[in-house]
Amino acid sequence: MQTLTQRLANPTRFMELSARLLPWISAAAAVLLAYGLYLAFFASPADYQQGETVRIMYIHVPCAWLAMMVYALIALSSFGLLVFRHPLADVSAKAAAPLGAAFTFLALLTGSLWGKPMWGTYWVWDARLTSVLILFFLYLGLIALRSALEDESAASKLTAILALVGVTILPIIKFSVDWWNTLHQPSTDFTSTVDPSMRLPLLVMAVAFTLLFFAMHLKAMRNEILRRRVKALRTQAVAGRDRLAAQGAE
């Protein structure tokens, strides 16, 4: 009996499965995103203290959540590559890195836009902001290291090692607001301290963003597999041409 991950080790099977899943995930992401944006901008009340700016939260919180989840996914994929040599793990890690960097950047950007009216400044060097900035640098390091190495198999393994070294930052981000006294608010107990009128839009947006990420991630993985196939076919074609040329010379 094969497990799901074992069956997915066959790229062809993965391509079939992802081709069937991708439209559904994309559609669900689009519908939920539209519904979530409607809730966030029209159907939810303005905050009694923060006014309309509270609506930034519906973008900021899902981005920040994804920034961490994507890194965890990369670390998990890296582990899968280094330990189990799973062929899809590297494709997954490679496809997720730019997406994670983008979400981290969005979290920083929306946070800074929210900080200006609330804290009076775009940026403060508090623990949560600083640690997320380091996470952003880690993403950039992963992308840069991979692009600097020509040998693809070495590049993927070295990037995986770096991803696992960097994984120590995740607990620091998660608990930074509890360990240090920071300007950024501590993590809220979602069920009790968020008002129900804001809980639903936030929840819908979080699910929508997560689905959006998985849709883009699947698509990027499919592109990466196709790119590798094209590369393999090209190499084969060149090798075949060389052989023909050699025969012709004889």
Partner: protein, 221 residues
């Protein structure tokens, strides 16, 4: 264990007899620190307030410059291949090389830091703490740096990439190194920062050689 000490001895001797290596890092340290007052203005009160930060940042940059030599020279002349096939586990090879980097770069920089503190009007009471924190913190600098050096050994534009990868990893060391020196937090805050700094160093001493060896194995395949 004997070959571990032999390798450590060889690397330290090489670094000393080659000259240049230690001197360049110290010279760079001196130049960066003396550029700061020129850029920030010679206000002694301001300088004494930010002295610890300047010293730590300049120390990290100076150490960063010498990181890529940890493995590169041995890789170029084939020594690394011999070491990898030798009886000593690669993890201990990387540990010996990181330790040698600490002895030849970390310790000189840590000893130099209080001397440069004079240029920045550092508070006299902070001197012993500065020496202690730099001595305790620099192993993390060398052992984390060795991971970066191993990862970027064969890359194009290795030096810049090394900085991009390693500097974010240095942030915790920097934060706790500085918060220990600028002891506005009082004796308990000082002890806490100091202990966390020591913990960071100890963890990197254990995990750094493992990660660096894993990276080297990929390169040497």
């Amino acid at each position: 264990m004997k070959s571990f000490w032999a390798l450590l001895h060889r690397d330290v001797t090489l670094a000393i007899r080659e000259g240049g290596a230690i001197g360049t890092a110290l010279g760079f340290f001196l130049v960066v620190v003396s550029l700061m007052p020129l850029g920030l203005g010679p206000d002694l009160n301001l300088l004494s307030r930010i002295a610890a930060g300047i010293l730590w940042i300049a120390l990290l940059l100076a150490a960063l410059l010498s990181l890529n030599r940890i493995f590169e020279a041995d890789h170029e002349d084939g020594t690394l291949d011999v070491l990898a096939t030798g009886p000593l586990p690669l993890e201990l090879v990387t540990a010996a090389k990181s330790l040698a980097h600490w002895v030849t770069t970390g310790i000189p920089l840590a000893i130099m830091a209080p001397v440069l503190g004079i240029l920045l009007n550092l508070d006299l009471a902070a001197y012993p703490i500065l020496v202690a924190t730099t001595l305790v913190g620099t192993p993390a600098v060398s052992f984390l740096g060795a991971i970066g050096a191993a990862l970027t050994m064969k890359t194009r534009r290795g030096g810049l990439l090394l900085a991009l990868i390693v500097l974010p990893l240095y942030v915790p060391t920097l934060i706790f190194g500085i918060s220990a020196v600028s002891a506005g937090a009082g004796p308990t805050g000082l002890a806490a920062s100091f202990l966390i700094l020591a913990a960071i160093s100890l963890v990197t001493i254990v995990l750094g050689p493992l990660a660096a060896a894993a990276a080297l194995k990929v390169h040497l395949q």
